[in-house]
Homo-oligomer: 153 residues x 10
């Protein structure tokens, strides 16, 4: 919760009420009919809610729908600038490291399966799954997006 | 195929014969009983084959199993140093960008689902899937690994 | 022509014959029915030709179509990794500098005109135009691509 | 609207009133007789207004022309330092990536069309256009500036 | 104590009381039944206490166990992002320098002793020992963790 | 063995003969009476052998002691410049990451145990140990060096 | 002369003959009717000669004008990418350091003298002068270029 | 005026009064008998005034000479650390770019004219001149300093 | 005095009183029986005083010895992390530049005079001397520390 | 001797003959009447010899004076670009680290002793001394150069 500070007002409000209501993202996500990661992304200022999303959240977290709506309008579209570099951490970094390690393999397999194209940022969906194994748990990260063939002109 | 140059001899041999035999990684992977991405990773010097893998590859690609075995022994264990930064490309980068964009969401959702822990590099499995949609294709990248709780001492 | 060295064989062949035949990219582009920038991108290893493109180029530049085809197959799909940073030059850099300078303006105007979305790498078309003015020439760079709305999930 | 904070006072005033009046840059631009991107650049502190621009803006946004004039004089000429590097985002970055990807092609085509010269920063004009296509929208970014031949001395 | 500022409230409370009570980490560690380095890591926001740890610390440092518990819950799981680079210092840097200097030796000796695998971040234990020698003291840093063999898939 | 290329001649000779004789560093180290890591460091050009070390190595690996001596004299003292940054790998990096993560804890515990001082680079000893546990193996890295109190002047 | 290696053939020829003929840039510059710095820039691959320049150089340095012409055509337009950073040296760096040190002063004085505009890269002329003083020599670096007012659009 | 914030008190006072009195640096410089760039550098905290300079400034700008003197004493000698890298801007950067572009030429011409030596930072004088041309204005930047021959020892 | 802000309280107190008492470091150093550079380092938070040092300073600068002692205890051991890079300045940088320029010479001469070893950080003493010459002053920087031979193990 | 490769021919000749003659820099320096560090700097391409220096070296090392003279003329003035950053090593780095650590102290003490000025690169002399102490050796690095007061203009 330490990164509330630099978030838009709408987001810090949501995170504070989530903490107060002791709700998990799984619970909130099922209430508003979205995936957990997307719901968390919304709370961290990386996604755009519809009016319906805002009203359902206001309802669940005892916030004024109207002022939450205002807060989101003031915040404008999410800033999606990222800097893929530098810091490592033991939860998210291993996935990025694996993609970097297997990059030539991934690139070639995608080219063989889908042709010479690009992967779309806007259509990317990210899902986290817990997989229970005999000797502890696995975590599965599923990333899926549109593949567009390169065009000549 | 432009990056053959800096690969160990064993790998450039494999890549050259794959090209000559016009085999896809899907075909090779099914022959040696592994996933396509792992198979491609082996060809790009990022994975360690068993003796059985080497013999099946030699068989499929008309190579001397003995000398291929020697080449792999000379190459030693794969160098797995990666540098997650700098360059962007339109196939692999969008996945890294999505992980960076949704990092706080992913980290929190994993913490809520599996507790305070770390994701294991060595057990990471990477799979590429083609998903046919009404308006073109999606590409799905599935990353799965062991999750280990942090320990005090 | 100094950067031929690190290009795939197919590309350095094309560049060498272009120089020998004293043809401009405008002339070559009109022969193969593509835009000049795309044609130049093909010669610099940043685009994928069709079989028809290869045959027309071989024809124009007195090359063996068959061996040119082989060279392109060996080169595989173009490596499109780029590093947007560091060096400045007086022809290309001013365009990147202008995009960086006006980035908040461009981002907001696009959001107002087309909504919250992403711009597609694979569908990007780049065109250079010469505009004759009373006091010398202007150069116009036109970039156009697909705009995809962000999706929740 | 999150980047108001580091802008000069004149700019944050303008952005606040624009939000309050629910005006788009298209509406404001047509009122002051400039292009949308230039108008947005002015609001984001990257351009210099004339006295007439200031008075028309004050008029449209119900601000005191006199104090807006004072605010712009205090702010002085725009700081135009940019850092073309590091962060990626899904709206502006694809254009920079395309310029970097096609840089050798763009440089050579410009040299062939206009000779050995440089592109002028000060005269650069940037325009955003929405192009409606059968399957959704395209976004077109047009950059145009003066081309000056290199001189010996 | 200069880095209290950016620590979560729970940590700055602990560090302040430690200073007030003039207790060393050795004394605190022996009270709560953990190693000194782990105990110090907890005070610097890099480890997660159990409820029992919190109560023992509150007890030893005359803090309200309840509000300390609240503070830790608000702080959430520790942020473990690190940036292994840049700055040098005369206490910690020589260990990192030695690991970098002897990296190829360490990597090969580990491969020869334990096979082709990875070292686990989450299970890493760090211990500092003072070794008295005839001509002054040695400091010994012991790092131990789980080694996991690489898996094909 | 891929990094032989940039090593001094003496080192590549040693590494080649080690491979030919199928000896592990454990076997070589026990022959010359040194630790495995130091022995591997010598083979990778990071340590200085005595004349006795050279003669024992020449003896074990069937090399001419005289020419090995010449090769080491020509190579001069090892270059010990290191760059602690950038690349991550799954064997050595987790140790550096742990030192960075626990740096404030390590620094303070060392200060409490040994006072305000510095750790000596030249006296650093590095040891790798395999620890067999019920559920697989642990790897232990032990770093030990002289601690020198800071002096005023 | 150590940087001949990476220069185009035309340039290394010129530099070699200049050394053989023991001519200074002052002598060559006066022969071809250009400034010394521009002449040196031509020899270091940073400027474009006219046909007349090439013939005068060939004449002075006993080279075949025809083959020198060919060499320059093969080299194409100069690569003018620069990287203003990193290395310091005691001759050129002090000028860059002074510009950086006095940057806010220079920027404001230019704005006060010439208005809000940009300085043109292509028209930049650079001159070195030796100024004899009572106590040794001064070196004067004169940079002059076109100043273009910023334009709205 | 936006960079007043990080300047010493003495400097922000001077800049504020300059704005209030609507004086240009040319006017102030002629009043205190210095060059414009040096005067501006003084206002931006990059130069050291004499007592006489301080008194003349206080007189011109209606400040208390005594307290201005105190402010300068508190500020101490100017911090002259610079970082020649990173950001580009369209007024100062083209000069740095030209020096970088022509660096080998400048270095060699200086060596031919003045011998093997270094340029002095402390004695560097920087002057800006406006040169009116038929088709608009040129800006001339003149840098001059002492040249000291390298000495053996 | 501009860098007081980020210093521990004890240091900013000392620097403020030094300014108020108009004492030079030479005067303070002679009072407390240390070298000037060490004394200045203490004031800038880079050295550890003894109790006797603290009392002598409190005495000289009219501070409460007791509260100064408390301030130093709260500040803990000095943070000695440094970042040898980036910025240049005309007083300290020329010494670092000279060490970098002559590094291979210095390294070899030390190896020839003292053998294969390392230089100790903790024992480093730094002294500044003014040397009056016929034509102005020289500044001499003397660095001296313990040299420890590399050890095998 | 590993860095001979990138040195000018004159330097690699000198270093090779020094090794063949088994002479130390101390011996060579005393033969040519210079300091050891300057002599080593000359061998590593960082200094300019006089004709007399060249003849004395040729004489001592059994080289042809004439061809050594030619080699030095071809090499031209030494490239003195340095990059003070990045890599650490245990012999030279501790001196740079100490200068960085004590930079504010050194800067202020120099300002108090010699006034507001700059240190001259060209006049820098570097000396290495071995100091025998009761418990081993110290190494002393002495750097001395001209100090020039900053000038207004």
């Amino acid at each position: 919760m330490s990164n509330i500070v630099t978030l838009p007002l709408a987001c810090s409000k949501l995170l504070r009420e989530k903490a107060r209501c002791k709700l998990s993202f799984a619970q909130i996500a099922s209430h508003i009919g979205h995936d957990e990661v997307w719901t968390a992304a919304l709370f961290y200022g990386r996604a755009t809610p519809t009016l319906k999303d805002i009203h359902q959240l206001a309802d669940l977290l005892n916030l004024s729908a109207e002022s939450l709506e205002d807060d989101f309008r003031m915040a404008g579209p999410p800033t999606r600038e990222v800097d893929v570099s530098g810091k490592t951490d033991p939860v998210v970094y291993p996935f990025q490291e694996a993609i970097a390690l297997y990059a030539p393999a991934i690139r070639t397999v995608i080219a063989e399966k889908l042709g010479d194209g690009a992967v779309c940022s806007a259509a990317m969906k990210v899902r986290v799954e817990k997989v229970s194994r005999a000797k502890g748990n696995d975590v599965r990260l599923v990333l899926e997006s549109k593949h567009t063939p390169f065009q000549s002109w």
